[in-house]
Symmetry: C2
Subunit: 338 residues, 2 copies
Amino acid sequence: MPELRKDPVIGRWVIISTERGKRPSDLAVEAPKCRGGFCPLCPGNEDKTPPEVFSVRELDTLPDKPGWTLRVVPNKFPALVGEGDLNKRGDGIYDLMNGFGVHEVIVETPDHAATASTLTVEQFKNILLSYRLRMLELKQDKRLRYIAIFKNCGEVAGASLEHPHSQLIALPVVPKRPLEEMAGAQSYYTFKERCIYCDIIRQELLNKSRVVMENSDFVAIEPFAPRFPFETWVLPLEHRCSFETTPLEKFSALAELFSTVLKKINSALSFPPYNYMLHTAPLDSSDSAYDHWHFEIIPRLTKVAGFEWGSGFYINPTPPEDAAMYLREAYPAGSGKP
Amino acid sequence: MPELRKDPVIGRWVIISTERGKRPSDLAVEAPKCRGGFCPLCPGNEDKTPPEVFSVRELDTLPDKPGWTLRVVPNKFPALVGEGDLNKRGDGIYDLMNGFGVHEVIVETPDHAATASTLTVEQFKNILLSYRLRMLELKQDKRLRYIAIFKNCGEVAGASLEHPHSQLIALPVVPKRPLEEMAGAQSYYTFKERCIYCDIIRQELLNKSRVVMENSDFVAIEPFAPRFPFETWVLPLEHRCSFETTPLEKFSALAELFSTVLKKINSALSFPPYNYMLHTAPLDSSDSAYDHWHFEIIPRLTKVAGFEWGSGFYINPTPPEDAAMYLREAYPAGSGKP
């Protein structure tokens, strides 16, 4: 069983995932790629994944058979396992617990070669709605305290399968980054009695220089202090701490804006590898006045090296004002008539 | 002039380095490589770097001419600039200051093809002593508050030049990671009145399962909650918060242990790309009872993806107890008779 271990100094949790290879020589071997070969996420290979927990599929088609347009399945090589108790314990000065949790894969489309530039807004909306649905379902389990949703696109960005997919990891602890964001936002709220993200949005919409685009309900900005060139955030204009409580009627606007931003990034940066991550409140604080959910998109253009790992300080060669200008002007790749 | 900008939520500083390319197409262009071509760090090319600020060289040789065995030069493309004032200021809710600081390159050897496995212990000692010397020199400037020392070895680890070198960045602010380590260590000290790193060393030396090697003054361990496979820490046995105050007579023992650990990593993992970073106290707190300097070595074997970026949570497939066993048994590569 995997273990969750806590760094005793800075409190960072790590998963020691003993399911995978341990020998030094195993580390050179990457997870199986489907590039040009067999793909376990393609239609017809449904029996190569664990049984689906959710799908969007044609009427009269059976679970785990073709006919789907989106499919959510447990990860076949999960970082955490969904059974057993936490067994929180100490070992001298150290803290650990069992690696309980949920690790799912959202297969975004049956089309192996699809990109953000070929998916329709409707497909993109279904992806976002599937995140919401799985979060609502999983938050029923009170052992789970945080749900991380993320996408790795491209080998450089850590994708081990080429087929378009995103992932969900539900954890029995709140990770370090959301805790830091909460602490910072709470401290600001204590001082000002306002949500810091709402204030950021207000200042950005007045200033405009870092705004990529906006619509009725959402805005995409380059943050003031981005770690990476073309780092882009997508935020709801209206204050809301938890993604999964966003009303259904907002998802068309979200899908339209989010997918256009990805298409602009594909266009400006020639289809770069990228990650995106949902930042949302912990499951047990779904009514906070100071958290404000958002997505962070990171094109993987620069390498993270010793300075960044050692200091938590980043060197970014592209001012966000320049990146915003390029993205505002970029034609969304793939949005032309076929 | 570069800018230092602070993330308003979690307080992370970034350097917006406007000296380098801004256009999207520039981001695909890496810094000039010397692989198989011209190397600005090789002997004979001393005029291709800014004038040296320190060197170890033969008697009767001139600065910025051949005859050196180690050379410290300002970075030709610095992330920060060593002139002007800080001009700390606000911009609405945001905080920024001028990108004042120092960025130096430690050219570790004249031998372009050297590795940790071919450098002698004496050469390694000179590298470590040059870190100490530059830190003592730069800490005279009271505008500087933290010095980061790090090495990127291999393209995957972010090295833009192949010639063996490490880097020093002196900053007018204390970065997020040292602040977090200080906060964690201080909180432990307040509770226990003991240094947490001293307690870690004590527990590891009793338990042995994560110890790679030790000598009279230093120990190398795999930490209890490592982010990465084969992440390795080198710590002084005796409590000391600041690297640069380490007595000169300890450097032979440090060089011997640190270089042996790198040779073992080269042997066990077939000369992986790696980073190492010095973790040390801020310049103005050089007498702290709870900080404890150490080096962290990270072989770059796994990719960091969306989950890690978004959550600050890491998935590590190799238990540190296994990694320590492999490293204890590994023959230090290159240490045999030629």
